[in-house]
Amino acid sequence: MTSKRKIVTAVIFLLSLHLAILLAGFLAPYDPATQNRDFPFARPTRVRVVDAVGHLHARPFIYQYVARPHGIYEYEESREHQYPVHFFVAGPEYKIIGLWPSRIHLFGVEAPARIFLAGTDNYGRDQFSRILYGGRISVAAGLLATGTSLLLGLLIGCISGFYGKWLDESAMRLAELFLVLPWLYLLLAVRAFLPLHISPTQTFLLLVVVIGTIGWARPARLIRGIVLGAKNRKYVTASRGFGASDYYILRRHVLPHTYGILLTQAALLVPQYVIAEVTLSFFGLGLSEPMPSWGNLLANLRQYNVLVSYWWMFLPAVALVLVSFGYLNVANAFHERLQSGSI
């Protein structure tokens, strides 16, 4: 595969993941916070095309769950009635991309049956819906935090590389300090100082700011290196001779050199920051219930009995792996392209 095709496939894969997360409301059959208390820890619903007597059906259908008598969180399918899976059905209200209200969902089944593609959690909440909605928060946190880091890194890297001297010295010593910080403990400490109850939006922004500001050091050092190399090129000296301002030189001649590094860094940082958010939420320091985030979902696995009894509780981790894989793939493709010198 040529490097260009590699980039295209990697980007398409990544974009489709993001689209799925962005359209969570449409793809998810249920509201992520709705508790179906009769179905805690139900295993994923089997979508069938062949019924109990062996007839083939054109439209996929499911059987409803009923609790097994005397079992703890055990269910069996009631074969009495088939519930066909319908597409583009009306369901709970949501907002498309958080803007336009809508009730249309990609698929669903008639009540009282429920379709749980990824099983349910302790409160009978649909995991499939929660994974999609949770992805919004985890991925958005990763993206925004990466933006913050890169912006800071670019700013400090440029100033430090371009002006040098004591500015450079102090900025780089500070960067070293940030590089050696044990960030997880720092995050834990920061969270502990916060007021008892802050709104979910505030918590989210705070997570982004904290994760983002800690990670500026590495991109800043890389960018500084590139700026150092670029500022002594002959055409830079020439344009300076023609009376170009610092700002013009930076914008016109220096910054374009950093784009490749910025992209690669972004592709590397996003999964790292998604995992940072997941870690914080896993420890209960992120968004609180009932808001889903991948870390919150995975936090169920902290209980031993969940860990060994309900395999579908691991599914959020699969989503996390897919997204990380998508980004690293893109980073890799960019890197190859960068080395061959064509970006």
């Binding site: 508790q35 969180y73 409160y123 008892l196 209980q303 031993y304």
Partner: protein, 591 residues
């Protein structure tokens, strides 16, 4: 000559090892043993138990944490003991006791010939010394409150070497129950640190085992920080089975420190430990599946005495700069608001989702398993969202177009519930309550807090709005509950440090609780305590939720295992436990 020297050394070593041995001592003349009615066992074996955290101390007076108490309870003994199975008092170091007619003077006869685990004799001086320490203001023992009756400390007097007289300022119901778990300490070892004012520093985990002695079935031999504490048989223990075999049967009792419940379950599953207490329902289900193949048995003992509840902050916040919370207190203080909350909470769902069905819903502070004291007439209203809405409407609340609840000033009703982040069960309750109350239009946030931070907010800073907590579980008697329900009590959680009862019903509860304390007849006490339970149920200072069943397990070869709903659930009769098959745990059998 050299050979002779060798022999002499050998002989000396033998003699020394005999002296230090923990083999049960033969019975002495004049020794008044307590004869137990358990199945006769045989000696040998080590019982291993896992604890969630490490004990902090071995000092019976300063110990406040559960792991320390669990260990100390095996090292020490009390005068009068509450039998965990029957929930009634029975003689322990006191062989008999009598109460004067006016109910104020309590005379206790001690067993003769009892010795501490270091072989020193026990008598009335040790009892007087122990109570002197418990009652000393400077020692700050948590037990002191129990020993102050009618505002005056109990007077303790030695009558003769084996008789002690306790004088109370006023009659006290079930006075003999006070003595349960009050460890009698050796004067010969602790008098010096006490006289020097260093009592609180005595008997730490680093104290040499030789300097620690008690009257319990075991004595301290080894502590390895972060790993385990080992107790060996007390060879002088004062109980024997009906064949006059001195108890305990076990050679050693080992507590491992494993960190949390899941680790306890794992160690038990792997066969590393012999007994497990207080398993969660999910882990119980998990273990039940493997019980037949792995050779252990599990027991569901029914509802515990503990009560989980939601409490709203009604503390006096005037001088505390917590304006936001004090604004919300107008809702919390409104009985109708609390009634609506109570009515909207689905307790059956809590039992089903939190305890996997192994628990019971609660509407009062007394668990249904406390048969002597529970008020059977207490109403159990079923969950009703419509009812809750009606109550809120009548209290002046209204709803916005999007369903959000507003108070009579148009303020959005939103508050946060704090719960201990390490307690998965209480976190789940909070999430269920959050969902239930959202159906009333209340915007509730769940805030997980580290347990100590939570206690600090509830007891010190009052910086919280509502909290989910649990109390009870110690004794079945109402008296230990005095601390919670008296308006001056130290765990009067919703409103601490009231100078005088803040409401009429709190004043009424104060009176009733004081009255039942002085009442010596069970029927009359029960009647008074029923009234207290009804007042609590009507006024809902706490919204009671549920109580879990006590779930325990043990290896099948542990004999005489009789778990109880009172703490300590499994080890209360550890002196009677033995391993059924010879050579269990790799050590010797009958001797």
């Amino acid at each position: 000559m050299q050979r002779l020297g060798c022999l002499a050394t050998l002989f000396l070593a033998c003699a020394l090892s005999c002296l230090a041995s923990s083999d049960p001592q033969s019975l002495q003349r004049g020794e008044e043993l307590q004869i137990t009615d358990n199945e006769v066992g045989h000696y040998g074996g080590n019982l291993v138990v896992a604890q969630r955290s490490e004990p902090k101390t071995l000092n019976p007076v300063t110990a406040a944490d559960a792991p320390s108490r669990e260990v100390i309870g095996r090292l020490t003994a009390d005068l009068i003991h509450i039998n965990r199975a029957s929930q009634q008092t029975e003689p322990a170091l006191a062989k008999s006791w009598s109460m004067s007619k006016d109910g104020r003077v309590f005379t206790v006869k001690l067993r003769h010939g009892v010795r501490f685990s270091d072989g020193q004799p026990f008598d009335a001086d040790d009892v007087v010394f122990s109570f002197q320490v418990y009652l000393d203001d400077r020692v700050h023992s948590p037990q002191r409150d129990l020993l102050v009756v009618g505002g005056k400390p109990i007077e303790v007097q030695k009558v003769d070497q084996y008789t002690v007289r306790f004088t109370l300022a006023q009659p006290y119901a079930a006075a003999e129950r006070i003595f349960d778990s009050l460890a009698i300490m050796p004067r010969h070892l602790l008098e010096k640190p006490y006289a020097e004012g260093k009592f609180a520093q005595a008997w730490t985990l680093s104290t040499s085992p030789a300097a620690v002695a008690g009257l319990g079935p075991f004595r301290f031999t080894e502590y390895v920080a972060g790993q385990r504490i080992v107790l060996e048989r007390n060879p002088y223990y004062w109980k024997a089975d009906r064949n006059k075999n001195r108890l305990p049967y076990l050679d050693e009792l080992i507590f491992l420190f494993v960190g949390n419940e899941d680790a306890q379950v794992l160690r038990f599953q792997a066969g590393d430990t012999d007994v497990i207490s207080r398993v969660s329902a999910e882990n119980y289900a998990l273990l039940s599946k493997e019980a037949p193949s792995r050779g252990f048995e599990l027991f569901d003992l029914g509802p515990s005495l503990e009560y989980n509840f939601l409490v709203f902050n009604l503390n006096d916040l005037k001088s505390r700069n917590l304006d936001k919370i004090s604004a919300k207190q107008t809702w919390f203080a409104d009985l109708k608001f609390r009634q609506a909350v109570s009515s909207a909470i689905d307790r059956d769902d809590i039992v089903r989702l939190v305890y996997a069905g192994r628990g019971v819903p609660l509407w009062g502070n007394v668990s249904p398993s406390n048969k002597f004291w529970v008020d059977q007439a207490l109403p159990h209203p079923s969950r009703s969202l419509e009812g809750a809405r009606e109550i809120l409407k009548s209290a002046g609340f209204s709803w916005r177009g999007d369903g959000q609840l507003l108070d009579h000033q148009g303020q959005v009703v939103e508050f946060s519930i704090i719960a201990s982040s390490s307690n998965a069960q209480r976190m789940k309750m909070a999430t269920i309550i959050q969902d239930d109350l959202s159906k009333l239009g209340m915007d509730v946030h769940v805030v997980p807090l580290e347990f100590r931070a939570l206690l600090d907010r509830v007891f010190q800073t009052y910086d919280y709005e509502a909290s989910i907590m649990a109390l009870g579980g110690g004794d079945a008697d109402p008296n230990p509950e005095l601390n919670v329900w008296l308006s001056s009590g130290g765990t009067h959680l919703w409103h601490l440090g009231e100078p005088k009862p803040a409401t009429d019903w709190e004043a009424q509860i104060d009176q009733l609780m004081q009255k039942q304390m002085l009442e010596l007849k069970y029927n009359r006490r029960k009647h008074l305590y029923d009234q207290v339970q009804e007042l609590i149920g009507q006024n809902l200072p706490c919204v009671f939720l549920a109580t879990p069943n006590i779930l325990v397990g043990a290896k099948k070869n542990v004999a005489n295992f009789r778990p109880a709903i009172l703490e300590p659930n499994t080890l209360w009769n550890v002196e009677q436990l033995y391993f059924r098959q010879a050579g269990a745990s790799g050590r010797g059998a009958a001797r």
